[in-house]
């Protein structure tokens, strides 16, 4: 497994280098190199996950290492889809290194996995895990777009058009894409939470058990719900929306990792070190 992850890290890192060079030199072929390397890495990554799945018969989320691996995989997958939809070349400068770092972290985590129990084989669990991860990956991108938005807004407001002003797209595009990411993320998070409840009901016999991760997930969900509501109701957009996307993602990261380290609960098994 180690070597497979290292190769994935390598693909994503070289892709990052391509995007970085593109940022500085602005040649189209550099972007294409970065993009195709990312896709190649993603295919490799996907093949590895499928292989692990076939080998163990369950989706590989038995420990933190595997969970993080899946998280990195969904970030890249979601980014590739958004890239095709919105053609936002510059976002690669955020997504590729993010994926590389996530995978690098995964490679450093211990590898022993818990015994595969039959609880991993439920349809609801698979649905729960994949939708949640897709949702989280979308929020990660929304956070990146929020950061880019704030940078571009600052350049325009302060009237100092430096390095980034020329390279970043329009505020409108950044804002709209960020919004799209949040809508997608929110939809998937909702489905994922619902699937989680159904699964909890089937395994533990109750929908809700005040597990800290459950509580924090719902807090995250409410946060994004508020953001979306405000946008639709009073037109929260631009700066505020960008800041909220960043805060939302910080809370999400805490839900994903922090809860497991600081608080106990039945999700522990998925992120056991």
């Amino acid at each position: 497994m180690d070597i497979v992850i290292y190769i994935t890290v390598l693909f994503y890192s070289v892709s990052t280098a391509g995007y970085l060079l593109y940022l500085f030199i602005q040649k189209k072929y550099l972007h294409q190199i970065g993009h195709y390397l990312l896709i190649t890495g993603f295919l490799w990554h996907s093949a590895a996950i499928v292989y692990w799945f076939i080998q163990t018969g369950t989706i590989p989320v038995h420990n933190l290492r595997e969970t993080v691996t899946i998280a990195g995989w969904t970030v890249v997958g979601v980014f590739i889809i958004f890239q095709y939809k919105f053609n936002l070349k510059i976002l690669g400068i955020y997504a590729a290194p993010l994926a590389a770092i996530v995978m690098l972290i995964a490679s450093q985590l211990p590898a022993e996995s818990a015994q595969a129990k039959n609880i991993f084989n439920s349809f609801w669990l698979v649905l729960h895990i994949f939708t949640i991860f897709i949702g989280e990956a979308s929020f990660a991108l929304a956070c990146g777009l929020g950061i880019l938005y704030l940078m571009q807004e600052r350049a325009i407001k302060t009237k100092r058009h430096g390095f980034f002003f020329k390279r970043l797209p329009s505020l409108e595009l950044l804002d709209y894409t960020g919004y799209a990411c949040i809508v997608v993320g929110f939809t998937f998070l909702s489905i994922g939470l619902a699937a989680g409840f159904v699964y909890a009901k089937s395994v533990w016999g109750k929908l809700w058990s005040w597990d800290p991760k459950e509580v924090w997930s719902v807090i995250t969900w409410i946060l994004y719900a508020v953001l979306l509501h405000e946008r639709l109701a009073v037109g929260w957009r631009g700066r505020r929306s960008a800041i909220m996307a960043i805060i939302g993602f910080a809370v999400l990261l805490f839900t994903f990792l922090g809860v497991n380290f600081f608080l106990k609960g039945h999700h522990e098994v998925f992120t056991r070190l």
């Binding site: 602005q26 571009q152 325009i156 407001k157 009237k159 058009h161 002003f165 020329k166 797209p169 329009s170 505020l171 409108e172 595009l173 009073v234 037109g235 929260w236 957009r237 631009g238 700066r239 505020r240």
Partner: protein, 422 residues
């Protein structure tokens, strides 16, 4: 062998009064080319003239006569003594002439580096020269290379990127805020050349409705008609802030016309959609504090000038890359030009035929095993003799002046006919 020379003057060497005197209209250019054709020293000629420059490109076998002829011609045609413009003229020969025309077409020599019109102007002048059959092998090739180089400089460097005029800079900013300008509503407050120019640029970017507010309503109605827009009264501006996206202001008012609380008040009913103020007026019309509100952006004339200065700096930096491309192209052109000498062409032709004959004979001999070495040698000798006989007349023709003066056309044809340039 013909020489390339270039005689000309531009905004750096000649004041505008002189450039005006020496400008050639399209018809005058055609007449000039006809006159050049009558001169025995001038073999090929192209002339182009813009408001910033006048340049004559000549291919000649007698450079001093051609130069004299060019000066005399300008003097007679424009009715101005040679002495009064001679000092403003620059004269470039061979490589330098090539470099100059490359630089001019790539807009590296322009008053505003990177301006895009010059290439079109040269193309037009070249078409005139072609229609008059004034240009020949050398200048045709030179001009084609010129267009190629200019295009390369434009696509491979950022020399034409980013606006260098106030109104374009404003449009570029608007694009950075709104992305596409299609369907955006524009409010023009006051009037003025620069503001109206900006509105015209916006219209070209397919903005939506134009609303015009003027202190004198009649003037507003008149302006609105020009833009196919709608005139409103000055007092209605605050109401319209609710719906417009871009505000261009250029009035003579001593006070701010749009104040912070006006914009703050409408932001909610705008549902926070961004609004962009372009303040061209001095003293300013738009309260600069509006820029501190979220989703509203204010640029005054100084801000826009700052943007332009920055862009000009960038263009000059990019121009250096352009110079490198030009240098490279000059060397390439010289290689072609030198190949127009008779000797290298004859050698290249011989080598090509030789190589073909050698491979074919070798192929044939491989299947004829019964031949002795002596037989093979005989066959080789026969091929050599064949080549010599076949190439005898063409070689003589190219070496001697069988073509009277303009040998380059035959050399060029030979090179093309036998594909010697690959």
């Amino acid at each position: 062998m013909l020489d390339i020379i270039l005689v000309g003057l531009n905004h750096k060497t000649a004041p505008v009064e002189l450039r005006e005197c020496l400008a050639f209209s399209k018809d005058e250019t055609a007449a000039a080319l006809e006159a050049f054709q009558k001169d025995p020293a001038v073999i090929e000629a192209v002339l182009f003239s813009t408001c910033n420059r006048m340049e004559i490109l000549l291919a000649t076998d007698n450079r001093s006569d051609a130069l004299k002829a060019a000066k005399m011609f300008i003097s007679e045609f424009k009715n101005i003594p040679v002495a009064s413009f001679e000092n403003a003229l620059y004269i470039h020969e061979s490589d330098e002439a090539v470099r100059h025309i490359f630089r001019v077409a790539s807009s590296l020599d322009s008053m505003m580096v990177g301006e895009p019109q010059i290439l079109g102007q040269i193309k037009e002048a070249y078409l005139t020269a072609i229609s008059k059959k004034a240009s020949g092998v050398i200048l045709n090739r030179l001009l084609h290379r010129t267009f190629f180089v200019a295009k390369r400089v434009r696509t491979e460097t950022g020399i034409g990127d980013h606006a260098v005029s106030i109104s374009y800079a404003a449009i570029e900013l608007a694009r950075k805020i709104f992305g596409s300008l299609e369907g955006k509503k524009v409010l023009l407050i006051g009037a003025g050349e620069m503001a109206e120019l900006a509105v015209e640029h916006l219209l070209r970017n397919r903005v939506g409705d134009i609303v015009v507010a003027n202190r004198t309503f009649e003037r507003g109605v008149e302006l609105a008609k020009n833009f196919n827009g709608k005139a409103i009264r000055f007092e209605e501006i605050t109401d319209y802030l609710k719906s417009v996206d871009i505000v261009i202001s250029s009035t003579g008012s001593p006070d701010f016309i749009v104040k912070r609380n006006h914009v703050k008040g409408v932001m909610r009913s705008r549902r926070n959609r961004p609004i962009f103020f372009i303040d061209i007026a001095v003293p300013r019309d738009i309260d600069p504090e509006i820029n501190d509100l979220t989703n509203s952006y204010v640029y005054d004339i100084d801000d826009l000038k700052g943007v332009i200065d920055e862009n000009i700096g960038d263009r000059n930096k990019e121009a250096r890359k352009g110079e490198r491309i030009v240098d490279e192209a000059v060397i390439r052109f010289r290689q072609w030009y030198e190949s127009l000498n008779a000797v290298p062409t004859i050698i290249a032709l011989r080598n090509k035929i030789d190589a073909i004959a050698k491979t074919e004979v070798k192929k044939t001999l491989q299947n004829l095993n019964h031949l002795t070495d002596a037989d093979c040698q005989a066959i080789y000798r026969m091929t050599d003799a064949l080549i010599n006989k076949i190439l005898h007349d063409p070689t003589l023709f190219l070496k001697n002046n069988g073509c009277h003066g303009n040998k380059s056309i035959y050399l060029d044809t030979t090179r093309k006919l036998f594909k010697l340039d690959e």
